[in-house]
């Protein structure tokens, strides 16, 4: 593992049954067994080594038994590299209607059809195992912001209890080559985060994630919690900040020693015509691009930038063409994954801090045009 001297950034690798993953890594989100508007070929071409699948969504539709009967999620969606699955916790608390939390698990109603379901921590592990996930996440309660101390404390204790049960279920029927990550909760209370970390470390998970962040708290609070918590995590285990984030967020987290990231931003923004470059964002519907013959980013080597002008991409977007979603998604994911590659190289060369500052300094160029 390479370590930066000026920050806590580190570069390493994860070994999975579906290939090596170089860290820090960005995982495109494939909610419904598809990274939106991308074929698996498109994903390989932009350099994707691992994607995220959503247990909650796949459990509801098309159903876990169906996916298992067709050989698992890799086979189902024809994805040959690694898959990390979330546990469903976050979606149950953000998407599902009506929730009833007990020590045993959660009763909830589907956001699709209102049907009633119960998921226990053990169920969540069984679901993720049936999907054939390479990296499984524990089932956690993800509470909103703000949460009072008592609620946050009780929830954190519940999450620890559930993590133990997840680990037990995971180990009982362990599938070689897989990993189980714990999720640290505790809202914005540092002492709760510390307590949660200490309890979870005792259980010796394969990796540690920070959950319950970017749920409405001020961004500086997010980073206070990350700065506070990350140093307490074991050096030799991967660290993952769930749902983060924008490129500038990724830099800050990497500087705190975080290794893994996922976020819907590159694909969602692509569909909304917001394109990332090393010189800032290109809002493709902007009229200044109407006749612009240049690619989104003249330094970019993605299929979109090698073949299409901003004028064409603007036209596709304004015309509501599906090809706009495709080409924009290819560009944004290529940008994210190349960014991670550059971050890794910078860490290895001991230049991460400079690269970060340089990135921030050039981010406003487009908006100043």
């Amino acid at each position: 593992m390479a370590k930066d001297l000026k920050t806590k950034a580190r570069a390493g690798e994860l070994v999975t049954a579906h290939g090596k993953v170089m860290t820090p890594v960005f995982m495109p989100v494939g909610t419904q067994a598809s990274v939106k508007a991308m074929t698996p070929e498109d994903l390989y071409k932009v350099g994707t080594e691992v994607i995220l699948g959503n247990a909650y969504h796949l459990y509801l539709r098309p159903g876990v038994e169906l996916i298992a009967s067709l050989g698992g999620l890799h086979e189902f969606m024809n994805w040959k590299s690694a898959i990390l699955t979330d546990s469903g916790g976050f979606q149950i608390f953000s998407l599902a209607r009506m929730r009833d939390i007990t020590d045993e698990g959660v009763i909830f109603r589907s956001h699709l059809d209102g049907s009633k379901h119960f998921i226990s921590p053990e169920d969540s592990i069984r679901i993720q195992r049936s999907l054939g996930s390479d990296i499984l996440m524990v089932f956690d309660e993800c509470i909103p912001h703000p949460a009072n101390y008592e609620y946050a404390e009780n929830s954190m204790k519940l999450t620890i209890n559930w993590a133990k049960r997840c680990l037990e279920e995971y180990q009982t029927n362990k599938k070689e080559g897989t990993a189980l990550f714990a999720i640290i909760q505790g809202s914005t209370y540092k002492d709760l985060r510390t307590q949660c970390t200490e309890e979870l470390l005792k259980l010796n998970f394969d990796g540690y994630a920070l959950g319950g962040l970017m749920v409405g708290e001020p961004v500086e609070t997010t980073y206070e919690i990350i700065s506070h918590t990350a140093p307490g995590l074991p050096e030799d285990k991967p660290r993952y900040t769930m749902g983060i984030g924008l490129p500038e967020d990724i830099f800050r987290c990497v500087a705190e020693g975080v290794d893994m990231f996922d976020c819907v931003v590159p694909t969602r923004n692509a569909r909304n015509g917001c394109l990332f470059t090393h010189k800032g964002k290109v809002i493709i519907k902007n009229s200044k691009y109407t006749k612009d013959p240049h690619p989104i980013d003249s330094d970019c080597e993605c299929y979109t930038c090698q073949n299409f002008s901003r004028a064409y991409l603007r036209h596709l977007f304004m015309s509501g063409e599906i090809l706009a979603c495709i080409l924009n998604s290819i560009h944004n994911l290529h940008f994210y994954i190349q960014l991670m590659k550059k971050i890794r190289q910078a860490i290895q060369k001991g230049e991460f801090f400079d690269y970060w500052q340089c990135f921030l300094a050039t981010q406003n160029e487009h908006s100043m045009n």
Copy 2:
């Protein structure tokens, strides 16, 4: 040119400045400078040799001057093979609001924003030339069905007059390597079709299209008109039935000696989950495909069939994933273009009639499952 013995089918080739096109050929429709949900790479991979661009749509958005300033439609959309452009006539009469037809041309309002425009036959040729079209179409009046004889006759005469003006404008600034096709009108009146054909033949166009068909008339009337008109067309010029059609329509037209086809059906049906196979249509949302591990068509060599199950495609469709549009469009266009290849081979081997009958006989297999 190869000719079938049992039917009037023929196999030949068109030479354009952007490559050879083997006929009979199907041209995917790229209305707004994009064949919906397909990248140019996807189009090449399924074997596309020529696409259709819509002058009316491109004139309104993004505008012809813009496309010309960016090097023309080929460059704009990064399409390296041939492009046929329609003249805008059909869309002005089917899409635009408020029309006022004079001998001079047509005043109409945009279907996008209600803005007022005037297009003359000469304008239509200038527009298509500016787009950089390989095969241009004359500007015609496309009348609805039913139309009374007097209206159809006057309209046919107007179309002939406009065709002359188009030819004059085309020849005045002729671009080498391009072709101009005439469009035969005359509604469902055989004598008007004959008269229109004779007048247009005198002008010696590079190819001849049948327009004003499949606009609501009974399908047998469509074929009566085609059977009546096609034999009167010169042997050595390409023949094109505009906007046709379904696979079974293509067989019938090929049997009448037609060489060129375009239709939105393969791409539109793809987006609606209706998939073509040699054993009939697969309606992918059908519950019988829920757990089906097989490809759409086990004999199909397209990217979709080589990599994805019906169960997965059904899931994508039911979940509203963009990838459903992409994978379904790849399959349907591959089917159409392979179908044309098989038709050409059958003609060359003198087996077209048998292939046609065999195709029809196997079309109901899926619905009988």
